[in-house]
């Protein structure tokens, strides 16, 4: 069978064997948990507790700060120690609610849940929004907004992004294997919102066991199917994934809904299941801890707000002092200056490496080899765009389609001159997008 894919892309060492076979382990944090008020795209949440308050697990501690925003819930019971600036995994310092865990895990009483078929569309969407769910694959776009397209009847594909194309990360893989029913349950909820849509689980073919398990589990679900994708990075990038599944191509000015699609990642669908079927707000996620500096790589079920140091301890600590620690995958994740940062809604992994290959590869002159052009999934010319970016030539950057970049980093990965192409393009893109908004 011809597998589904897109043109371009790369095949980095996937490193998944380190943590792939480690079943999900639940870890309970001690000490202080940190909840950054901005763990999503959009307006930061607004704290509704103050220093000294006693909070219960499952209690709302911050409310959505606007239409594109999401509330935050305490994942432990305890006392609010402070609301202060703290470093978050992306490297910026922002307001966080600090809660000292009392270890009792006293939980609020959740309102009773109605069966899915008795809930109205708006009710389901509101419940997803109230649970604080955002895109948990990394983007952090509030799911409530994503599920409210202008013309819901035109949505014909709900794509579960099960590609997990980032090297090393196996969190979604373990979720698919161990919590198949919850994933399908989440899909069922989303499908109930879009009557013309079919649900597609798009899985890379390096996860044959997941494909089999999902196929078996959905054999009585007429509206669901499994789509086997070529294993290639960035197969899970939204535009590339939509193309692979539907053969519809969208550009940077369009939304997936313009192609009749809504894409949600595995973790997000599980959270939707928890919110709508079980009535629980978003309080935990699966995080892969891996990399050659970690003693016992594994996959952990982590309460949001848990300090990364505790996560490292749960994985047996460091084998050797790492040079680089990354929140997220090696292709798009954030290198952290310190491990004293919290797990947030979008933390899919914590990777520690003994060697930082980037620091060891000095940039040299572009030799025009065209490897970046070959791999670019957006079919633009990264080496030239990086030049325009470096000379701050915003106009040429925009006319040469610099805004189409998805910042997957494939160009920087393949560049034999080790140029920081994605970095240059990414920062120019940010400026150009901001200026575009101003106009």
């Amino acid at each position: 069978m011809a597998l589904f894919t897109f043109k371009g892309g790369i095949h980095p060492d996937d490193g998944k064997s380190l943590a792939k076979d480690q079943p999900i382990r639940k870890i309970l944090p001690t000490g202080i948990l940190m909840y950054p008020l901005s763990q999503h795209i959009g307006a930061p949440a607004v704290a509704v507790v103050k220093k000294g308050d006693h909070v219960l697990r499952g209690q709302k501690i911050a409310d959505a700060g606007g239409f594109v925003s999401a509330p935050i819930y305490a994942s432990v019971s305890g006392q609010v120690k402070a609301i202060e600036k703290h470093l978050n995994p992306t490297g910026s310092s922002m307001d966080c609610i600090l809660i000292e865990n009392d270890g009792d895990y006293q939980e609020v009483e959740y309102p009773p849940v109605k069966p899915l078929d008795q809930m109205a569309r708006e009710e389901i969407i509101r419940q997803i929004g109230d649970a604080g769910i955002v895109g948990m694959g990394g983007a952090g776009f509030p799911t409530r907004v994503k599920l409210s397209p202008k013309e819901p009847e035109k949505i014909d594909y709900i794509i579960a992004n099960c590609a997990e194309c980032e090297p090393y990360i196996t969190a979604d893989y373990r979720r698919m294997l161990e919590h198949t029913e919850e994933l399908i349950g989440g899909m069922r909820v989303v499908l109930s919102l879009f009557e013309h849509a079919k649900g597609v689980f798009a899985v890379e073919d390096n996860k044959k066991d997941c494909i089999e398990k999902l196929r078996e589990a959905i054999k009585d679900e007429p509206r669901m199917e499994v789509c086997e994708l070529v294993t290639k990075y960035p197969q899970g990038a939204e535009r590339q994934l939509i193309y692979a599944v539907t053969k519809r191509a969208i550009n940077s000015t369009m939304l997936p809904a313009d192609a009749g699609c809504i894409v949600d990642n595995v973790e997000t669908l599980v959270a939707i299941y928890q919110a709508v079927i079980k009535g629980r707000p978003l309080m935990e996620r699966i995080v892969t801890v891996s990399g050659d500096a970690v003693n016992a790589p594994g996959n952990f079920r982590v309460l949001l707000g848990t300090n990364h140091d505790e996560l490292i301890a749960a994985a047996g600590g460091f084998k050797t002092e790492p040079e680089k620690v990354i929140s997220g995958g090696p292709m798009m994740g954030f290198a952290m200056i310190t491990t004293d940062t919290p797990v947030t809604k979008t933390s899919s992994a914590l990777l520690a490496f003994t060697k930082d290959v980037v620091a060891r590869s000095a940039e040299s002159a572009c030799i025009n080899c065209g490897r970046c052009v070959e791999v670019c999934p957006s079919r633009i010319i990264p080496s030239r765009l990086a030049d325009y970016a470096k000379r701050q030539d915003e106009e040429t950057f925009v006319t040469q389609n610099g805004l189409e970049c998805v910042e997957c980093g494939s160009c920087s990965y393949v560049c034999p001159a080790k140029r920081q192409l994605k970095q240059a393009i990414g920062s120019m893109r940010k400026t150009a997008l901001a200026n575009k908004k101003k106009k």
């Binding site: 550009n251 040079e323 290198a335 200056i337 080899c369 034999p416």
Partner: protein, 310 residues
């Protein structure tokens, strides 16, 4: 320990391929032709010219960069490639000082004065070859084989006489040091194709266009022996596989590479059939090099989602 962590923009992993390995692979791919050339022209002591020319190229780069307090880039092997390619493009009897002068011209004038690696608009080895052709036309066009001075197969072909295509394939004919053996060159080309340093786009369209041009305009109809002699003769194989494919001086866009290949084929055909000299590859390549910015301008790809290739 917290202060020791390194931060940088993603991605945090890199492919193993470096500019240095790519250049080294090109050098390795040129070795069959180099070794054959040195053997083939052993009576002319071709080894000395190859050695001096290559060493001069590397040394020029080193001295220039040291003198101007720039980072020394001889380790990326690009000067080595230039020097070797130039040597392979020289007649074996050329005085070694001329080879050295060519190497200095290639590195100093064509490459470094325009900004160094990646900035030259013309293939440095071919720029230098044409420079030497203009300066020392006689010495550059005198070809000796087995101590006997005679015509190259291509010149024989141009004169309307028949040539032995088998010896052209093997390479035991007169010519420049590295151009004579088609088999040795193809071994190198296959290596570069196999490891992905080059692809078929440029050399493929170049050779196909050239063959079509010859079939249409040579006035010989479907004379396969004549076409084969043209393909195997002169610097076509060396040029198509090793010099037209030079990254710096060829288009970065895929459609551009095809247009570039077609330009090369037509120009080579024009020069060989209608020009004064039997040869045409070097001029075809350096003229096409100059067309690259224009070719790129009109062959920019359409992005994904805007009608581009998917």
């Amino acid at each position: 320990m917290n202060n020791k962590l390194r931060v940088s923009s993603s991605p945090h992993v890199r492919d193993k391929v470096t500019t240095g390995n790519i250049m080294l692979m090109v050098v390795i791919a040129l070795l069959p032709a180099t070794i054959f050339g040195i053997y083939n022209f052993r009576h002319e002591h071709a080894w000395l010219l190859v050695l001096v020319t290559t060493a001069s190229a590397v040394l020029t780069e080193y001295i220039y960069e040291r003198a101007l307090h720039k980072p020394v880039t001889v380790k990326d092997c690009s000067a080595l490639v230039t020097g070797l390619l130039l040597a392979l493009n020289l007649p074996p009897t050329l005085p070694v000082w001329m080879g050295a002068l060519g190497a200095v011209f290639a590195i100093l004038v064509v490459k470094q004065l325009f900004g160094g690696l990646g900035q030259n608009f013309m293939n440095p080895a071919l720029g230098a070859r044409c420079f030497l052709l203009i300066c020392f036309t006689g010495r550059m066009t005198t070809f000796t084989y087995d101590t006997v001075t005679g015509a190259t197969p291509l010149a024989t072909l141009k004169a309307g006489e028949s040539v032995d295509t088998m010896s052209m394939l093997l390479g035991n004919t007169a010519g420049t040091i590295g151009e004579t053996s088609v088999i040795a060159l193809l071994i190198g080309a296959i290596l570069l194709l196999w490891i992905g340093v080059i692809d078929l786009r440029i050399p493929g369209t170049y050779l196909v266009t050239f063959v079509i041009f010859i079939l249409l305009f040579s006035g010989r109809g479907l004379d396969l022996q004549y076409v084969t002699a043209h393909l195997c003769g002169g610097g076509l194989m060396l040029g198509a596989w090793f010099m037209a494919t030079d990254y710096v001086t060829s288009p970065i866009t895929k459609r551009g590479q095809i247009v570039y290949g077609i330009c090369l084929g037509i120009l080579t055909g024009l020069f060989r059939l209608f020009g004064g000299s039997a040869e045409g590859v070097s001029y075809a390549i350096i003229i096409s090099n100059l067309l690259v910015p224009l070719i790129e301008k009109v062959t920019l790809p359409k992005p994904f989602g805007k009608g581009g290739e998917k």
